[in-house]
Amino acid sequence: MIAARNVGVSFSQRAALADISFDVPAGQFLCIVGPSGSGKTTLLRVLAGLIVPDAGEVAVDGKAVRGPARSRAIVFQDYTKALLPWRTVAGNVALGLEACGVPEPERSRRIETLLAKMGLGHCSGHYPAQLSGGMQQRVQIARALGQDPQLLLMDEPFGALDAITRQGLQDEVARIAAEQKTTVVFITHDLEEAIYLGDHVIVLASNPGRIAERITVDIPRPRSQLETREDPRFLDYRHRLFGLLKH
């Protein structure tokens, strides 16, 4: 599905990413974790097509990524900036469908389904500013799902949320990804979140951003916030990767 080959990105002579190569099979959940400054977000933007790498190439389904595409939906971390404040919740979700040219009667039906799926049914007429952070992030996810993406790119989507909200959303994203068999690339700075969600975890190191370690998480799904996090394999992964994230 995704094939990244020797990807390198520099910003004004300084290498942000160097020699990044990995594959993600279709329907798999890849988490990329790393300290700040390790180029996680840059890597996600390369996958999205928002940045053209200076070296190497990313291919999705065999086709080289040359620019952004609707088939690759992005969920940004800063939901307050990524939602349209003048549109209601339903209007924000509609944006993705409008972009895809979904005509009206069907659009309303799809919006309703998406809102129900993300637990937003009761606030479709609210404006983003009237919602909590967690709810706003749900709106963004609903909008992204409306694009019917092959690939869902999530940039530290829960980084600004409190722990309880975050765990709830982790489980929902895991459930939806499994239901829709969407390929997901999920950026986080939280190692436990990465192990909990991922089929695969890539750990980045800084200066320049490069792959320090990659593991396959061999814990069956569906996972549970309580048992999975106490699973000896979970703790073992955590031990192995923890040292890599220290500066």
Partner: protein, 233 residues
């Protein structure tokens, strides 16, 4: 209420001074005469007709300036490359005083609505254009990335994302442009276009009807104030 003290005293003093023969009668009509002229010009419809003619030109010019300024401003704001190409030409045109274009506009359009609206549009374009460029540049970059990742066409990006996001600031430019439109329309009429309030004022002045001229001035002040009130909503 305190603010009314000085104008009241001035008007009373003016009326008395005028009746006592202290003030020159040609350039200063008595307030009572001015009020009579105002009521008469309102009653016979001439004042309202002139007001409409002036508004027609001011609003047409404003509409052209608004549409052009927003469109051009959005393009320049979104594309730094176009800005670098077109920007210097704009900077060269901008310092030309709009009224200096009156002879040219007359040559191209002749007397009438079109030449007046053209001069108004030139004058009102700049505030809309400059404010739009900076408002569009200030649009949250996330939203532009979002519209790129949704593969929105340029026009849909403009309508769905950029203009709604920038509208609050663009409205400020439009308000300034509206005020300028009225000023320039009246100016063009005073200078040479034989229509509207400005022309009637110069005609009244030349006919030694300073009472009517003051009445029109008073009315113009009111109209400008009312237009500004409407624009602020």
């Amino acid at each position: 209420m305190r603010g009314l003290v000085i104008p009241s005293l001035l008007i009373i003093g003016w009326e008395i001074g005028s009746r006592a023969g202290v003030l020159p009668p040609d350039s200063t009509s008595r307030p009572s005469e001015i009020v009579r002229a105002l009521v008469q010009a309102l009653a016979d419809g001439s004042l309202l007709r002139d007001t409409w003619l002036t508004f027609e030109a001011a609003l047409l010019g404003f509409a052209i300036a608004g549409a052009l300024g927003i469109l051009l401003g959005a393009v320049l704001g979104l594309s730094p490359r176009t800005e670098r190409t077109v920007g210097p030409s704009i900077e060269a045109l901008r310092p030309i005083p709009a009224v200096a274009l009156i002879p040219l506009a007359l040559l191209v359009f002749g007397f009438g609505l079109r030449m007046e609206a053209a001069v108004v549009a030139f004058a009102a374009l700049w505030p809309v254009l400059l404010v739009t460029v900076s408002a569009v540049r200030g649009v949250e970059p996330r939203l532009l990335e979002l519209s790129r990742s949704l593969e929105l066409s340029f026009s849909r990006q403009l309508v769905k994302i950029v203009l709604p996001a920038a509208f609050g600031r663009i409205a400020v430019g439009l308000r300034v442009a509206l005020a300028i439109s009225l000023v320039v329309a009246v100016t063009v009429e005073i200078v040479l276009n034989p229509r509207g309030l400005g022309h009637s004022m110069i005609a009244a002045q030349q006919a030694m009807r300073s009472d009517l001229m003051y009445a029109q001035l008073l009315w113009l002040g009111f109209v400008g104030w009312a237009l500004n009130k409407v624009a602020q909503r």
